[in-house]
């Protein structure tokens, strides 16, 4: 019957604030994006970062892994990358006369799939299936992926030549899609004056044990979602499906994603329950890659679509 934030939540918030602050020291001026990334992680979702090269996508993923003490693997996607290069292969052992499985880079707690749109769709889908199922099946044998398991995929804006942009159906598997964008002036200045980022990343001491992160993820699903908030979520979903102007409405999965992302956001705020503001904060990242407006001539930025949705739906 505790109404206030339980001590656990308070603990979590303290820790998460530290984690975010630490990450913020390396990835400057991207506080909100970092928070979103953590929320995504806490909600057990995967993250897609879509932006130009060089804005710090890789750094962010690396920082996340370091700060959380997660085992980290980076896979640079290229057009000649094969599924086996990611998942791992079975190799015949002469000594034992049996096949043994050599796990690929995906068997890490945090996998950075860099420039995922450079690989062929076949390779892409191997990654996405593993993401979805939390396991890898090679030659009839199923290998469970580590827990927690978190994929950060980066993608360059799709109009570059020689890329295979992720199809819409696959985009849905990422809980969030964020853009980093250029840093603002003061952040840029800090960046220029500061030390080498890679060095800084290497110096980061893990603040959280994987087990603690796992427990936090457990607690995220316990964050209270009241009937009133469910009403709001439903209004949002219904509006995206019914209102003219939206090409494809949000899927039920999108609704669930929105809910757990909002729960994670509430946890970042140290709250035991979700507020409409939590939904509003995560909504652009969660629905930006799932919604399309009808008017394709003026391709609206995902943020604009989300903002429109938020503006048009009243909080019940």
């Amino acid at each position: 019957m505790t109404i206030l934030s339980s001590p656990n939540l308070l603990n979590d918030k303290t820790i998460l604030d530290t984690v975010i602050a630490t990450a913020g020291e390396v990835v400057v001026g991207k506080q909100h994006e970092i928070k979103l990334a953590f929320a995504c992680l806490l909600a057990r979702g995967h993250l897609l970062i879509e932006d130009l090269p060089g804005v710090g996508k890789t750094t962010l993923a690396h920082v996340l892994a370091r700060v959380l003490g997660l085992s980290f693997q980076r896979v640079q996607f290229t057009s000649d990358l094969l599924p086996g290069d990611i998942l791992g292969v079975s190799v015949y052992e002469k000594d034992t006369g049996r096949f043994s499985f050599h796990p690929g880079p995906i068997f890490a707690q945090l996998v950075l799939a860099d420039e995922v749109n450079r690989a062929t769709p076949r390779t892409q889908s191997a990654l996405l299936e593993a993401m979805e199922e939390q396991q890898v099946t090679v030659e009839g044998r199923t290998h469970t992926l580590p827990v927690p398991f978190f994929v950060v995929a980066t993608q360059n804006p799709s109009h570059q030549i020689g890329t295979f942009p992720l199809p819409e159906s696959q985009l849905d598997r990422f809980l969030m899609r964020i853009e980093l964008g250029y840093p603002d002036v003061s952040a840029e200045r800090t960046l220029l004056k500061g030390r080498d980022r890679r060095e800084m990343v290497a110096e980061i001491e893990p603040i959280l044990q994987p087990k603690a992160l796992f427990e936090m993820q457990q607690r995220v699903s316990e964050i209270h979602v009241s009937d009133a908030l469910i009403d709001y979520l439903q209004e949002l979903l219904n509006h995206s499906r019914r209102a003219p102007g939206f090409l494809a409405g949000l899927s039920p999965r999108a609704g669930l994603s929105l809910r757990s992302a909002a729960q994670a956001w509430a946890m970042l705020a140290g709250r035991s329950h979700v507020l409409p503001e939590d939904v509003q904060a995560v909504l652009p990242a969660v629905v930006g890659h799932r919604l399309r407006v009808r008017d394709r001539a003026h391709e609206a930025a995902p943020e604009d679509i989300a903002a429109r949705l938020l503006r048009e739906v009243a909080i019940p």
């Binding site: 019957m1 308070l10 604030d17 530290t18 630490t22 603040i207 044990q209 009403d231 009243a314 019940p316």
Partner: protein, 311 residues
């Protein structure tokens, strides 16, 4: 402009009004008695062909009907917002606070809340006002004491009919084991702490910081360091490690039945808390890391309350 917005908001809310709470109103034994008397009056009026007798009888019959309508209306708009109870120890009274509000435009009179065998005194709730009713139940068993289904009843206006609404909330009181047992706190494992005694005095020399580990007491967190964005750290004191005891259920295997053991643990938790000693609780399958403070104590007692199937 402002009013238009307000109206818009209200208009939205009316789309899905909350489910109305069903008010049941039935004549009680006095109601039936009154009908009987009215029947006799009617017979008399018929026999003597007394028209004023008829009139009076019919008037009172009408009043009888209207009294039930008024009884219904009296309870309409009464909502139970919720109920809660603070945890108690076995042997204490668990007091449930039931929050009642009146969302109708008129006052509701003569209400009484009952649950199980317990009934409150009469109270009334003014229009748009609310009331907190208290129902106490003896906490006899460790574990969870659920609030029985709640009934709000009123005999208003003539006590010839009873209007009722029911409410089934999920309120429950946690019942901690009764803290009892004569065993002293177990010896601490740490010789340094033992030397320093159990007292963890505030003026012990500050010795530095160490990284936060899950389970560390909030009291020991170095908040200033955190504020300076230096990460989460815990203060360390000159005595080495803070005084700490481990309260283990398995250490008590030799005394009494499980309830007695839990009572002893509860006793220890209270004692350690009073002494300000950091304590951990090990219930075999549940392990609460060391800590001290109100919240920690609550957690430990909760764990004890929910331990295993209550006997």
């Amino acid at each position: 402009m402002a009013s238009a917005t307000a109206a818009g908001v209200r208009g939205r809310a009316e789309v899905s009004p909350p489910p109305r709470i069903a008010v049941r109103v039935l004549p009680n034994r006095y109601g039936w008695l009154m009908l009987l008397v009215l029947g006799v009056m009617l017979l008399g009026s018929i026999n003597y062909n007394n028209n004023l007798g008829y009139a009076l009888t019919f008037l009172l019959m009408g009043v009888w009907v209207m009294a039930h309508v008024h009884g219904y209306r009296n309870l309409r708009g009464i909502e139970v917002l919720g109920a809660r109870a603070t945890p108690v120890f076995v042997g204490e009274e668990a007091v449930f606070e039931v929050f009642v509000c009146n969302s109708s435009a008129r006052a509701s009179h003569g209400l009484a809340i009952s649950a199980g065998m317990v009934t409150t005194d009469m109270f009334e709730v003014a229009a748009g006002d609310s009331h907190t009713a208290r129902l106490s139940f003896p906490a006899q068993r460790r574990g969870v004491l659920p609030l029985p289904p709640v009934t709000i009843a009123s005999g208003f206006p003539l006590a010839i009919g009873t209007a009722r609404i029911g409410w089934r909330g999920e309120a429950s009181a946690t019942v901690y084991p009764h803290p009892a047992g004569a065993l002293p706190l177990p010896e601490t494992d740490d010789p340094a702490a033992a030397a320093a005694g159990y007292a963890l005095s505030g003026d012990t020399d500050f010795a530095g910081l160490r990284a936060y580990r899950t389970g560390d007491s909030l009291r020991q967190i170095a908040w200033k360091a955190l504020a300076r964005e230096r990460g989460l750290h815990v203060k360390r004191f000159a005595g080495g490690v803070a005084a700490q005891v481990e309260l283990r259920l398995r250490d008590l295997r030799f005394i009494g039945d499980p309830e007695t053991q839990l009572s002893q643990l509860a006793r220890w938790v209270m004692d350690a808390e009073r002494a300000g000693i950091s304590y951990s609780l090990d219930l075999d399958h549940v392990l609460l890391p060391a800590g001290v403070g109100e919240a920690h104590r609550e957690f430990c007692l909760q764990a004890l309350a929910h331990y295993g199937p209550p006997s």
